[in-house]
């Protein structure tokens, strides 16, 4: 199983029927492919839709129906469309049960940096700051390292997305949560040892006596 599949499958286990969920671009988008059988989730697309469905068949694209990246999607039965003020009211107003975002860095206290690399990449924050600020649960989906360097650091050196800590981070190696503001190893991926996770992590991790393996 490749890194992205491990991450997406593990996060999909957090989905329950009736939840309103926003998936970011990249690895987070893949989470929708692994919704547990019998579970019905409302996916929000911040460009103005609840009930986002899969990419339509060839020749069936509706050009006024896209995801937040501008790619064609479909709408499931029961979908609804709204303007951007309503969309961010849902996000900021505490109506969104979970958001899954990509990350550049996460620090020991659970702070996320994912919107710019000064002098190199300044795409803009889009909806990320509102999502981290307002969602009931914030999940980061990212690879554990970038070019061999840890992304889970003692302190982020990139500009933060929010001062609100995320709830947990899922990588191809581990699940890390932040109870009491301390980075804690919750699960390891199949075949990955605690030592391997620690070696790939700069942040000081709290390691409980028993660390279960991800069931994926």
């Amino acid at each position: 199983m490749d890194a992205q599949t491990i991450i997406a499958k593990r996060i999909a286990q957090e989905l329950h029927s009736g939840m309103l969920v926003n998936l970011g671009i990249g690895i987070p988008t893949l989470v929708a492919n692994y919704v547990p059988a019998g579970t019905s989730v409302f996916f929000q697309s911040e460009n103005g839709l609840i009930g986002t469905g899969p990419v339509p068949e060839e020749g069936m694209v509706q050009r006024r129906l896209t995801d937040a990246g501008g790619r064609p999607v479909s709408a499931l039965p029961g979908a609804c469309a709204f303007d951007s003020a309503m969309s961010f009211g849902l996000i900021r107003g505490g109506h969104l049960d979970m958001t899954v975002l990509g990350g550049l860095q996460v620090d020991e206290g659970g702070h996320l940096a994912n919107w710019m690399i000064p002098g190199k990449m300044v795409p803009g924050m889009g909806g990320a700051m509102d999502l981290v600020c307002g969602a009931k649960r914030v999940v980061v989906a990212m690879q554990h390292t970038a070019k061999g360097k840890p992304k889970i650091l003692r302190k982020c050196n990139l500009p933060l997305t929010s001062v609100r800590p995320v709830d947990f981070v899922v990588t191809e190696l581990a699940v890390i949560a932040f109870p009491g503001g301390r980075a804690t190893l919750i699960e390891t991926a199949p075949g990955v040892s605690t030592e391997q996770v620690l070696a790939a992590t700069e942040a000081k991790l709290v390691v409980p006596e028993r660390v279960p393996q991800m069931h994926i």
Binding site: R92, V122, G127, D130, T161
Partner: protein, 215 residues
Amino acid sequence: MQPINLENAVAMIPDGASLMIGGFMGVGTPERLMDELVRQGKRRLTVIANDNAMPGIGIGKLVAAGLVGKTIASHVGLNPQTQRKMIDGSMQVELVPQGTLIERIRAAGYGLGGILTPTGVGTLVEEGKRKIEVDGREYLLETPLRADFALVQAFLCDYLGNLVYALTARNFNPVIAMAATTVIVEAEHIVPVGVIPPDHVVTPAPIVDYVISHG
């Protein structure tokens, strides 16, 4: 509401004007208005919109033609031309969180003196802004944002100017329609009065100043 042809509508827009333009990655952007702005070669425009789309699409056409002096947007990452112009200084880019941008526009259109949002507290976004505590939580005071023109794309427009939008092409359109001095609408379909039931109207006719006629 007054019907107007495309050329005359765009001729009303002077160089240096501020424009709010509907659309999200080009979906819901009035493309005929974009093409005519390029044809008439406007200069030093300030473009307030969610994003700058991509080269060749929507606002991306204005950027490529060098019409934009400044943009206020939440995301410009899919337009490498905007990124390049931002770095070489030929275009000013002000980045605003998406939920804050739409609320600043809404505040202007709804007659509010600003909004208080928790988004951006403790980040680069708070620089130079007033922080206000309400019931123990900190918020940023974000000021209203208005423009000279709103360029709106609608799905249906009736003879009076009542508007309906379609799916994710709605996005910023109904909100910007409230926040500009002059509102110009490009509709996919112009329909008789009565085709749009009162409960389905999203933007009421008195808000709309001009509708681009077909042909």
